[in-house]
Symmetry: C2
Subunit: 462 residues, 2 copies
Amino acid sequence: MTDLSSVLDRADRNLPESLERLFGLVRIKSISTDPAFKPDCRKAAEWLVAELKDLGFEASVRDTTGHPMVVGHHPGASADAPHVLFYGHYDVQPIDPIELWEDDPFDPKVKELGPGRKVVTGRGVADDKGQLMTFVEACRAYKDVHGSLPVRVTILFEGEEESGSPSLKPFLDANAAELKADYALVCDTGMWDADTPAITASLRGLVGEEIIVTAANRDLHSGMYGGAAANPIQILSKILAGLHDDTGRVTLEGFYDGIEETPSNIKAAWESLVAGRDDFLGEVGLSELAGERGRSLLELIWARPTCEFNGISGGYEGQGFKTVIASKASAKVSCRLVGGQDPEKIRESFRAYVRSKIPADCSVEFLKHGGSPAIQLGYDSPVLTKAKTALSEEWPKPALLVGVGGSIPIVGDFQKTLGMESLLVGFGLSDDRIHSPNEKYDLRSFHKGIRSWARIIAALAA
Amino acid sequence: MTDLSSVLDRADRNLPESLERLFGLVRIKSISTDPAFKPDCRKAAEWLVAELKDLGFEASVRDTTGHPMVVGHHPGASADAPHVLFYGHYDVQPIDPIELWEDDPFDPKVKELGPGRKVVTGRGVADDKGQLMTFVEACRAYKDVHGSLPVRVTILFEGEEESGSPSLKPFLDANAAELKADYALVCDTGMWDADTPAITASLRGLVGEEIIVTAANRDLHSGMYGGAAANPIQILSKILAGLHDDTGRVTLEGFYDGIEETPSNIKAAWESLVAGRDDFLGEVGLSELAGERGRSLLELIWARPTCEFNGISGGYEGQGFKTVIASKASAKVSCRLVGGQDPEKIRESFRAYVRSKIPADCSVEFLKHGGSPAIQLGYDSPVLTKAKTALSEEWPKPALLVGVGGSIPIVGDFQKTLGMESLLVGFGLSDDRIHSPNEKYDLRSFHKGIRSWARIIAALAA
């Protein structure tokens, strides 16, 4: 069971079929946030159960009030081997604006992206279907060579990660004994750059809110009512504009409670790191740091909170012009959280602020869209050290410990509900266009990702 | 040719067929702002030409670079009779949000709206198809009784009134000699209340702009980029929020240039008028005057300018949530103008303000949507006096001279291009829901509107 090189060879030889299996999963339109795709989400779950059964897992689709979970158990080669819980999500983001996709988002392809660089295209190929399949295919290589796995493995795939994971916490609570392992492996993060793997030590939290402002009880003609009737787009604009001051700080009361300043030596290390990196903003056509003034790039995206406007809608949005005063206007707002910020306190502070800006004859409705605090992992765990060594052996450059700006609520839930730390390893790259048109996943990420997991589970078993 | 009462009787007897003809016109989906309905706009023009020919007009569809015009000429009973140009528009507003309509907007019906009150429902039934048909049906009653009309009539129906009338000015310029008459009759306004007819003496102008703010060259993940990358919805919100100060005044430089304060005796008259009226804001679910503080309702909607936000769009607007930082966000903004405000100067001031708020690495695009100055008609014209008497004889209460808050660009163009004043008479009511779902036109407005025009043209011919 220690012959790692034959497993890695097997992973190499399996690659064409591994890719075919990934394509099969990407073809399923498992958009969790849109109710129209509910049957597709179930189909993705069923597809994964079939895969896991084929690998010797006892696996099943597990219903929730939303999209189902996939749970699988593999006994491993020995009852006293370490026990890991591997987590991924099979749901994907919506595909709009569809007209900006070069290819059908649900018909994955291998394309050449510059000399010698091949990528797989399609919605969810990087977030998170390609990533979760690196682990599944690593298991397959082990099974093909050794007939079993070197560690005991529980799998948990959820289908609501892109829509706030409403069923996750209740499911963990109800199945805590079944899901508890020594630690979790989570594959939903990225590399530092194309040659440098990364293990994530901190994650920002998230609190999401949708606000719907209503003024008149119907749309009005702006000639007849303009100047006399409240305009909900104007009210909403004032609300949003008031959320940041002129220095880019968020104005909500208590917003910065619980945040400690990052130590200056760490800030200095981040500044030297980013100096050697590709042009993070330039790649997306920007050149100036937005957000809080006087802070560096990595501090802004890893260690500082935000308040972002993710969507806004109201009045006539079609071609041409309509001189209407809308009845309603709405916005989706989310805050990224760091340190000890409390999502529910921030939600309440946000709602109190918004309510204070609504005229007496207008009203506001709030829709809650998920909430999770930030996470900071321990730097000294032996699991993290083993994974760092395994990754450094696979890739050209040694693995880095980094932060990520996005939230992975599961990590907080594993800690709170199952008392379990998470090892966050992933192979995404900064140009993967996740959540955007033309999402892709490097073929090298997929291939070396499979090999990386094979190395990591070997190291954990040792 | 002076037997008015036989014409009025005939109009009464014609009513069921008049209504059938109106239904025929409303069934044509002539939405001018949406290119998908271009063939329907032409169909409406052709329908009207056939009607006019049936009444003895020499009529034709006249092409423009946009939707066609309808022009018709009737010689009247005598070559020295007064010559009027009647104007209306056959195009209608879009129907969104369609889910709020109780009936198919293009399948008109007569419905009972409270005891004894019948209304015709459908998109455009009040704005402006029902209104223009009151004049056409008045002509028909005359023709049925007398074989001819007491005045010489030129008809001009346009198909772009709801989308900024881009072809109107060039068409008037190119056909000035053909279209010039003694004065214009325009039927696109409303009654003071259900018993009190109104002649409009002032009209607000309009300048419309669409702004599209672009930040990154693609949509971004708010976890990965949030706090570092510019957010176009945030930029747009700040722009819109900065357009009004805390007293509701518009902040654009030079915005109030050319406006004279309304004389205090007129303001006092307006305050007493509105005291006797139905609850203007209460009808639409509001209770507080928005806009400039310290001004009365009629002053705000007739004599003060506005800056309204008619639509806003950006980021994820579907169900659920998407943690995206959009590449683009856009808004449709329009100002209602009064007195001597210059639409093009205000457009430039608006654009300069917006540009000053765009960060160096972001950009903004402007789309122009029409512009026309405000109009103030002469109170002393004999035409106006004759019309006032004719209307007062038809309706329970005497006719009022009023302002309207909406713009009718044609009135300015008739003045500038053809040196012709306009008499603005219409039979809409404040609850007609024009531009909104469930648009209606009172059957009484239609019936007595036809009778009113019969009286007016008799008075003009006298």
